[in-house]
């Protein structure tokens, strides 16, 4: 069969298939019900636990409610209240600062570690396990451990280590200037392992021939990384970058457990602010305000992701 014949057959078959697809009886005959039944648990679970809460929270962002008595629609009041809250701008600044520090430290470190580990000839598995270990520790446990390490007294773990080399005790999370970098340090430690494993897997797909060719051309190690490794990992790097930006924009665990947003709101992030709106006042939080801010964050991240993928797609094409 020539290509031409095959194309003609395919084109001829299409209208018939389209007709059958729109016929409910043929759909049932072709096992559509079975498909639906297989889908049903998934639809129920997503419907109950994902889509319904999403729709409800959109509605709630325009309401005033204590979740017990009937809710009252308040129009855009919740959104206006957020923009009028000085803490909102503080939270944006803090979240941006966290994201920036996390990008500066958290983005290159796993990449460098993965490239170095891929060069190691022996005990590669051991190093992979070592890198991944922090991810295995439950996040709350690791934060509580680091909280002990960050003890600001001279006998605190980190301060004692600094003391060995003559550096005076640092305040770590007890000072507005050093609190956020301290949080980023722990977050990087806790999250790097997962990204390293992704990079290691991606590195195995880079053809050794490219390195050989680069070597023939007289490329140095840095030249090989710059001209071979990074371009080959470009797709993965773009994905991990946007995932990291989304994750850092939603940072909650570290400020919540380490500092509660302090000292003096220096670690109050957007998500912590949402939590505070909803839960700080024991007499019924500003749930409408909390969901409104959640909605704003979700919309912002969605737009950011779309723009990001458009831009990076163009780069990838080039």
């Amino acid at each position: 069969m020539t290509v031409d014949t095959a194309v003609k057959q395919h084109v001829a078959a299409r209208p018939e298939r389209q007709k059958r697809r729109h016929n409910p009886i043929t759909w049932v005959q072709r096992g559509g019900l079975t498909t639906l039944f297989f889908l049903l648990p998934l639809l129920i679970i997503f419907g109950v636990f994902s889509w319904t809460p999403i729709v409800e929270s959109v509605v709630m962002s325009f309401q005033k409610t204590n979740l017990v008595t009937p809710a009252v629609f308040v129009g855009w009041d919740n959104f206006v209240a957020i923009f009028q809250d000085p803490l909102f701008w503080v939270a944006i600044r803090n979240t941006g600062y966290f994201a920036l520090l996390a990008l500066l430290f958290g983005y290159p470190i796993p990449l460098i570690a993965a490239v170095l580990m891929s060069e190691v000839k022996r005990m590669k598995g051991f190093y992979s396990v070592l890198a991944y270990l922090p991810v295995i520790i439950p996040p709350v446990v690791s934060v509580l451990l680091w909280k002990i390490f960050y003890d600001a007294s001279a006998t605190g773990v980190f301060n004692a280590i600094l003391g060995w080399v003559g550096i005076p005790p640092q305040p770590w999370i007890q000072d507005a200037a050093t609190a956020m970098p301290s949080l980023v340090l722990e977050a990087t430690w806790a999250g790097a392992g997962g990204t390293i494993i992704i990079y290691l897997a991606a590195l195995t797909s880079v053809s050794p021939d490219l390195y050989d060719a680069a070597e023939v051309d007289g490329a140095s190690i840095w030249g090989k990384i710059w001209h071979v490794t990074l371009p080959q990992l470009r797709g993965i790097l773009f994905i991990t970058l946007i995932l990291q930006i989304i994750a850092t924009a939603q940072v909650f665990l570290q400020p919540f457990l380490f500092t509660g947003g302090g000292p003096v709101n220096s670690t109050t992030t957007i998500l912590l602010l949402i939590y505070q709106y909803a839960f700080t006042n024991s007499l019924g939080g500003a749930y409408g305000q909390a969901t409104a801010l959640s909605l704003m964050l979700a919309v912002f991240l969605a737009i950011l992701s779309i723009v990001y993928f458009r831009v990076t797609a163009r780069w990838s094409d080039n």
Partner: protein
């Protein structure tokens, strides 16, 4: 897979799945003819002794009330967790809220009306009207039963006092003396904060309110027309913050960790890292229950008040309330439980002695200092009944018990109390972490923020 049989099997599986999911939220509150009741009288992380003591009391109750089946769970009131549980509908049948919250929760329909069952209790007519008022809604109905009212106090570690060469029987009686003793302790006992206050989760504002009122100031003023004005930017609050600044930056006697909530500072005190701190007068109960603290090391004194008629000690307490979703039978059972567990031991001799015996056997605080819920005579009578079972050395408590009835009791700020406290946390944190904190601007910011919330209520 197209056969009708297989499709029927799949349909059944799907329906069972839906059934399981919907079954998650159903709770009848009764089973086997008994009323089931989930109560929350013990702190998370309670010691084995505390759980044993509680178990015995639950058994006593179940024996006296064979138609009720009580299950006790761990619970600690904190503003954020309470709100989450309230919103999520996961609160137990009986739980406690602070004095500041019960009235508002009742008025907004978030607590069960217990009036009918409350009136059947033997002590219903005995209550001090002012105390019961915190659990009474604006419609005059009763929505909770108060217990364990306390005054703010100065808790201290007697062992650390001795190590620093101070006399634990003569705790400080003025703010200046607290400052001096804290300085001595921090110098003579390395690694120990001489004095510390709470700063996180609204507790920073709570303790700043105590300090302000002790100096004669008020964070809120209520006009003759009932209008509330937020007044945190006042001379007494600033004096209190200035006092903290001296301890922190002048004397360096507050240690090096400044982010403490209620349970965090209790833990630090119990582990000997803090020598003195501002606490509720009854905190030894929690220190023994959750931290296994040796009561022989514990000392408590009245928190010093400034001279002048406006100076007073901040008081508070708890109200046991019932889940608004409970059935009438559960509400009746809940009131019986609260009466048995909380009220009975304060007013009835047999109940008081039984309770004291159980607590003493379980190594829990028998004579933790609280304030009267009925009247001073009943309170003194109660103290006499349980005296043989006292397990906190009475001498350790006298610096508080000898002085508290001479102190003027002042309630907490009335409007948006938790919002006010949360807004003040960063102010206290700023003073303790930034030598040049601009207190004036920070307090003005709090006034603006909380006043807006107060004003919004009247719109």
């Amino acid at each position: 897979m197209k056969s009708p049989g297989k499709i029927a099997v799949l349909a059944t599986v799907a329906l069972v799945g839906v059934g399981i999911l919907s079954g998650c939220s159903s709770s009848s509150g009764s089973g086997g003819g008994k009323v089931n009741l989930v109560v929350a009288p013990v702190l998370p992380g309670a010691t084995a002794d505390a759980l044993t003591a509680l178990h015995q009391r639950v058994q006593q109750f179940n024996k006296e009330n064979p138609d009720i089946n009580v299950k006790a769970v761990e619970y600690q009131w904190t503003a954020p967790t309470f709100t989450a549980e309230l919103a999520g509908g996961t609160l137990p049948d009986v739980f406690n809220v602070p004095f500041t919250d019960s009235k508002t929760l009742a008025n907004s329909g978030q607590l069960a009306d217990i009036t009918k069952d409350f009136k059947k209790t033997s002590t219903a007519d005995k209550w001090n009207k002012n105390v019961l008022d915190v659990a009474t809604g604006s419609n005059g109905h009763v929505y909770g039963i108060p217990w364990g009212p306390y005054a703010m106090a100065l808790s201290y570690n007697r062992d650390i006092f001795k190590q620093a060469g101070l006399d634990p029987d003569k705790p400080p009686t003025t703010l200046d003396e607290i400052q001096q003793d804290a300085k001595i302790i921090s110098q003579k006992v390395p690694g120990v904060a001489g004095y510390m206050q709470m700063t996180e989760g609204g507790t920073g504002g709570w303790e700043l309110a105590t300090l302000t009122q002790a100096l004669g100031g008020r964070l809120e003023k209520v006009g003759s027309d009932g209008k509330v004005t937020v007044t945190t930017d006042n001379a007494q609050t600033k004096a209190g913050l200035d006092w903290l600044k001296t301890l922190r930056w002048g004397d360096n006697s507050m240690g090096s960790n400044f982010l403490f909530d209620w349970s965090g500072i209790n833990q630090a005190f119990a582990s000997g890292k803090v020598a003195m701190y501002m606490s509720g007068s009854d905190v030894i109960g929690s220190l023994m229950q959750a931290n296994g603290f040796d009561q022989n090391k514990y000392g408590v004194a009245t928190f010093p008040l400034a001279s002048g008629s406006d100076a007073g000690i901040l008081s508070g307490g708890n109200v046991d309330v019932v889940n608004v979703k409970d059935s009438a039978a559960q509400i009746a059972a809940a009131v019986k439980w609260i009466d048995f567990y909380r009220t009975g031991p304060t007013a009835d001799k047999t109940a008081a002695i039984n309770n004291a015996k159980t607590l003493a056997k379980g190594k829990q605080a028998v004579n933790a200092p609280t304030l009267p819920v009925f009247d001073k005579a009943t309170w003194e009578q109660n103290q006499a009944w349980i005296k043989p079972y006292d397990n906190i050395p009475v001498g350790n408590l006298t610096p508080f018990t000898d002085g508290i009835f001479n102190q003027k009791i002042v309630p907490e700020p009335p409007a948006h109390t938790q919002d006010l406290y949360a807004a003040l946390d960063p102010v206290v944190q700023a003073v303790l972490t930034n030598k040049n904190a601009d207190v004036d601007t920070l307090l003005k910011g709090v006034d603006t923020k909380v006043q807006a919330l107060v004003d919004a209520d009247s719109k």
